[in-house]
Symmetry: C2
Amino acid sequence: MKNQLLECVPNYSEGRDAAKIEKIADCFRGKEGVRLLDYQTDKDHNRMVVTVIGEPEPLRDAVIASFGVAVDLIDLNKHEGQHPRMGAVDVIPFIPCRGTTVEDADRIAKEVAQAVGEKYNVPVFLYEDSASAPHRQNLAAIRKGQFEGMAEKMQDKELWAPDFGPDTIHPTAGVSAIGARMPLVAFNVNLDTDRFEVADKIAKRIRHIGGGWRYIKAIGIDLSEKGIMQVSMNLTNYQKTAVYQAFETVKMEARRFGVNVLDAEVVGLLPMEALIDCASYYLQLSEDFDPMKQIMENRLLEDEE
Amino acid sequence: MKNQLLECVPNYSEGRDAAKIEKIADCFRGKEGVRLLDYQTDKDHNRMVVTVIGEPEPLRDAVIASFGVAVDLIDLNKHEGQHPRMGAVDVIPFIPCRGTTVEDADRIAKEVAQAVGEKYNVPVFLYEDSASAPHRQNLAAIRKGQFEGMAEKMQDKELWAPDFGPDTIHPTAGVSAIGARMPLVAFNVNLDTDRFEVADKIAKRIRHIGGGWRYIKAIGIDLSEKGIMQVSMNLTNYQKTAVYQAFETVKMEARRFGVNVLDAEVVGLLPMEALIDCASYYLQLSEDFDPMKQIMENRLLEDEE
């Protein structure tokens, strides 16, 4: 593996037919520079969510190939499920993971969008950090109306002309959203209190919408069955609002209430960089420290000499 | 790569002949489960130091193969250099690196020692954490007398019978030391003072020999050309005396002198675990946190499914 890696979490509108599911997953298996980490299917949602990491170009090519397989296998006219959807490949986020930025993710997202638009005649809307207009950043706004309503929606060419591909929906594969976004770090801090208002007030003070850090989303969570309360956060750009900043801010605000922090938890995956940055901060490591060269495991992920 | 990895830093008594050097390095190239990180040669020392990481069994086999190549290529009777040496393969330390303990390193060290003793008729002394007696832990004690004096030294069978292999030296390849040891983390803390005695006194109070932490070695270093002083540490078992413990202890002792910590530095390589442990401590991550599963890069180092 190279030092430059992106994560991709494509969502396919097939969560029931094991043979089709495996054909899609196979697009990410045994490919040099690509690693299938996980795929989850949900019969009720009738949806498949793949988690794959890879070097930008091999990852791009595998995603394009999987798009073609999904277009061949999935007919949205026959698709039903609880999860909203607008395409055979509903949405493809590209996420910087290691040695990459959101700009790298954006470049690959646009290459995939162009390729699938041309090869498979599927209209593509760029979304999130790749969006071509503010009203197209939010996936829910793009997907509103779903597959069944998309043909009509796209007649409003001013608002909903696609960024790539034809300007009418694919008859069986619908439309897709593709874009770059930062990884979410789900980070919760547990408070030694049984007063919900403490967690609630802290969450409201530290989150962006309430005047707090630019990349913190937060809510208070009532864990009174455990006798504690929680500030539950999504850090939407850990490179700009760091995990240690979120943590120290919760501690700072908790002092107003005379409440102690019990512990913290990371939910799901996060990039090594997010935690190494915290170690560097607290240990006051000088700027000479080079994680890519000095952390052994990073050497293992380098190219072979 | 598997989750279980060892580091190995074998030292060969050849630092001048490029063809021979490459033949030794080749033993670690293109091998599944083995990664050659680095090799350095020194003409004055006439010595080659390889840094290689691998899964225990493939690493073991590559080291054994390199031993055979070195025995074929190197004749200690014709060897001269500034660095003390006693064998064609002078010393082979195995070091836990990722998902392994010093016991794993010890097991592989003994398997290599047995194999090279039998296959190549080279006597082997187990050293460091693999040593069979206290007087054989220290490499310098084993190597004293060097190649030229080893035949006579080994006549004292009570003190210097080898752990594996014949009880007389190999005529051209001498003897070898093989053993397990913990990785050293070289960690320095810079102090905002021009008084050397501050760094010196802190070093003496925190190191094991002075009553301090079990696995800290420390000295004061005079960096008065930069207007500062340094506490320079070797952490000889970061799993038992952690980097954050060393750092916080220096800060604690510096307060006695009204001196602030400026910053800190890591010299050379360290395992990811050593820094993730610090992030976990400072962020108060609960014990549910599983770095192997939750840090993306660790998933990349797993076996392919």
